[in-house]
C-alpha cells in the first residue's frame, strides 16, 4: 500500500554484506554491494573484520533477507559454519546465506552441507549473484 505522492513502498530485498575474518581487502565485497544496489536491493554494508557474532546480530537488527559474506583469508571453513550455527541458535531460519571469495572447489560441498545456499568464486559475474538471490530469498510477506 502506497502512502502518498512519490512513494514506492512494499517489500524490498535487504542484504547484509559482510567481511568476516582478518583480511583487509573489501574491494570484491563493495563491487557486489553496488551490483545488488543497482538491482534494486537495500544493501547494508558492515565493513571489514566482522566477527560471526557481529554479523548475526546486525542481520537480526536490520531484518535482512540475505547475508552475503566474502572471505579471502582462507578462514571460510571456520567462519561460514559459525555464522550458520549462530543463526540456528537464535532460531533464525528465514535468512538466505551466500558466500564468496577465494574458496577451493573441494571445500564447497561441506559449506553447502552446513547451510550456505551457494558459494560464488571470483569467476562468478555479479549478475549471477543477483539472479541467485532474487530467485532464492526465503521471505515472506
Amino acid at each position: 500500500m502506497g502512502d502518498s505522492m512519490g512513494t514506492d513502498t512494499g517489500r524490498k530485498i535487504r542484504v547484509l554484506v559482510a567481511k568476516p575474518g582478518l583480511d583487509g581487502h573489501d574491494r570484491g565485497a563493495k563491487v557486489v554491494a553496488r551490483a545488488l544496489r543497482d538491482a534494486g536491493m537495500e544493501v547494508i554494508y558492515t565493513g571489514l573484520r566482522q566477527t560471526p557474532e557481529q554479523i548475526v546480530a546486525a542481520a537480526i537488527q536490520e531484518d535482512v533477507d540475505v547475508i552475503a559474506m566474502s572471505i579471502l583469508s582462507g578462514a571460510h571453513n571456520v567462519l561460514f559454519p559459525k555464522v550458520m550455527d549462530l543463526l540456528r541458535e537464535k532460531g533464525v531460519d528465514d535468512i538466505l546465506v551466500v558466500g564468496g571469495g577465494i574458496i577451493p572447489d573441494e571445500d564447497i560441498p561441506a559449506l553447502k552441507e552446513c547451510g550456505i545456499a551457494d558459494i560464488f568464486t571470483p569467476g562468478t559475474s555479479t549478475s549471477e549473484t543477483v539472479k541467485f538471490i532474487e530467485e532464492n530469498v526465503k521471505r515472506r510477506s
Partner: protein
C-alpha cells in the same frame, strides 16, 4: 512469530520482534495500521534526537560516539540511520552502520538502516514508524541520522524533540550554514572535525546566522536569540550546558527561550561528544520545563495526521479508475481553457470525497 506475538514481544524489548515490527510498518504490509495502533499508546517516553548535516560531515561517527556516551551513563539507545534510495533503481547502499558496528553485540543499542524509498522529502513515514517502535520498546533515546539534503532537515524537525545540525570546516561555501530555513530548525549546532583548520570561522558564521535569523523572526526587536551566549563556543564553554544560564526571558512569549548552543566536536576520538549529549539533555529539560515539548509533539501529531489523510485522498484519486479518468478529462479541459483549474480541482475533490 505471529502478528500479535510480534507486538507483545516488541513491547517487552525482544530484539527480533522489534526488528520485524519495524519491517512490517516500513513495508506497509496489509494490516500494519492495526499493529501501529497497538504500540502507539506506549510511545512518547523516549527522547528523540535528530542528527542532520552534509554528507561526510561525520554524522555516523558522531552517532556512534553518542551511543557510547549513552551506554556509559546506563541508558539505552535506538538508532535509525536513513540514507537516500536511488530514484533510478530503487536500491540503496546503507553505509551508516559501518561506523557503529562495534555496538552490534550490545543489547542496549539497536541500529536500523533505512532507505528513503522514493519519499520526496527524504525522511519517510517509515522513519516515524521505526522511531515509534523503538520508543515503545523502551529505548531511552532514539537517534535519527539523516543526510541534510532537500527537505529532510525540515522533516526531521517534525519528528525529533531535539535537532542537532552538524557542520564542518572546509566545505568551502558559507552557504552550507545559512541555507534558507535550515538554521531555524537547529536546537544545537555541532561543528565537527575540530581538528581541521577553519573551525572558529564556522562557529562565527553560525553565530552570525543565528543572530540574523533571530532578528528577522522578531521583526528586529526583542531579545537577540544568542544574547548571553557569548561564552558558547567550543569545548571550553560547554559547562554551559549544565551550569551557565541558557535561558533568558523572552518578553514577547513570556517564557524562557532557548539559545542554540554551538559545540565543537571531534567525532573521530569522541572529544566534545559528552558535552553534546549534555546539551541534548539540557534541551529536553528546557522543552519539558516550558511546555514546548507538548507543543512540538502536537505539531508532529498534526502533521502526521494531515499527511495520512491527504495520502488517502491522493490514493482515492490514483487508485480509483473513474476518478483517475475524470482527472485526465478535467485536465484536458483546463488545458483547452474550457474551465479554470480551481473549478476542475473542486469538481475532482467532490468526486473523491463523496
Amino acid at each position: 512469530m505471529g502478528r500479535t506475538e510480534v507486538v507483545s514481544r516488541a513491547l517487552s524489548g525482544d530484539i527480533r520482534a522489534v526488528s520485524r515490527l519495524i519491517s512490517l510498518i516500513e513495508d506497509c504490509v496489509p494490516g500494519f495500521e492495526g499493529l501501529y495502533s497497538e504500540i502507539y499508546p506506549f510511545t512518547g517516553k523516549a527522547h528523540v534526537i535528530g542528527i542532520t548535516g552534509p554528507p561526510g560531515s561525520g554524522k555516523s561517527t558522531l552517532v556512534d560516539k553518542m551511543a557510547a556516551v549513552c551506554r556509559e551513563r546506563g541508558k539505552t539507545v535506538g538508532i535509525v540511520a536513513v540514507d537516500p534510495t536511488s530514484p533510478f533503481t530503487g536500491g540503496a547502499l546503507l553505509g551508516d552502520r559501518l561506523r557503529m558496528q562495534r555496538h552490534a553485540l550490545d543489547d542496549g543499542v539497536f541500529i536500523r538502516s533505512m532507505g528513503t524509498r522514493g519519499q520526496l522529502g527524504g525522511i519517510s513515514r517509515a522513519t516515524s514508524g521505526a522511531v515509534d517502535v523503538l520508543d515503545a520498546a523502551g529505548y531511552d533515546y532514539v537517534i535519527i541520522e539523516t543526510v541534510g539534503v532537500g527537505q529532510s532537515e525540515v522533516e526531521i524537525a517534525s519528528i525529533a524533540d531535539t535537532v542537532v545540525l552538524v557542520q564542518v570546516p572546509g566545505l568551502g561555501d558559507d552557504i552550507q550554514v545559512i541555507k534558507a530555513g535550515v538554521m531555524e530548525i537547529g536546537d544545537l549546532f555541532a561543528v565537527n572535525k575540530k581538528d581541521r583548520p577553519g573551525v572558529e570561522r564556522v562557529v562565527a558564521e553560525i553565530r552570525i546566522a543565528l543572530e540574523l535569523s533571530s532578528v528577522a523572526s522578531r521583526g528586529g526587536g526583542g531579545t537577540s536569540r544568542i544574547a548571553g551566549s557569548a561564552g558558547h563556543h567550543g569545548v571550553s564553554a560547554l559547562g554551559a550546558a549544565g551550569s551557565e544560564r541558557e535561558e533568558t526571558v523572552d518578553e514577547e512569549a513570556a517564557r524562557p527561550c532557548w539559545h542554540p548552543p554551538i559545540l565543537q566536536t571531534l567525532a573521530e576520538t569522541g572529544e566534545g561528544v559528552g558535552e553534546l549529549f549534555d546539551a541534548c539533555d539540557e534541551h529536553m529539560r528546557y522543552l519539558a520545563g516550558t511546555g514546548e515539548l507538548d507543543d512540538r509533539r502536537y505539531r508532529r501529531a498534526r502533521s502526521e495526521t494531515m499527511q495520512i489523510a491527504s495520502g488517502r485522498i491522493w490514493r482515492g484519486l490514483t487508485d480509483d479508475r473513474g476518478a483517475f479518468a475524470a482527472a485526465e478529462e478535467l485536465a484536458w479541459k483546463v488545458a483547452r481553457r474550457e474551465i479554470d483549474p480551481y473549478s476542475a480541482g473542486n469538481e475532482l475533490y467532490e468526486m473523491i470525497v463523496k
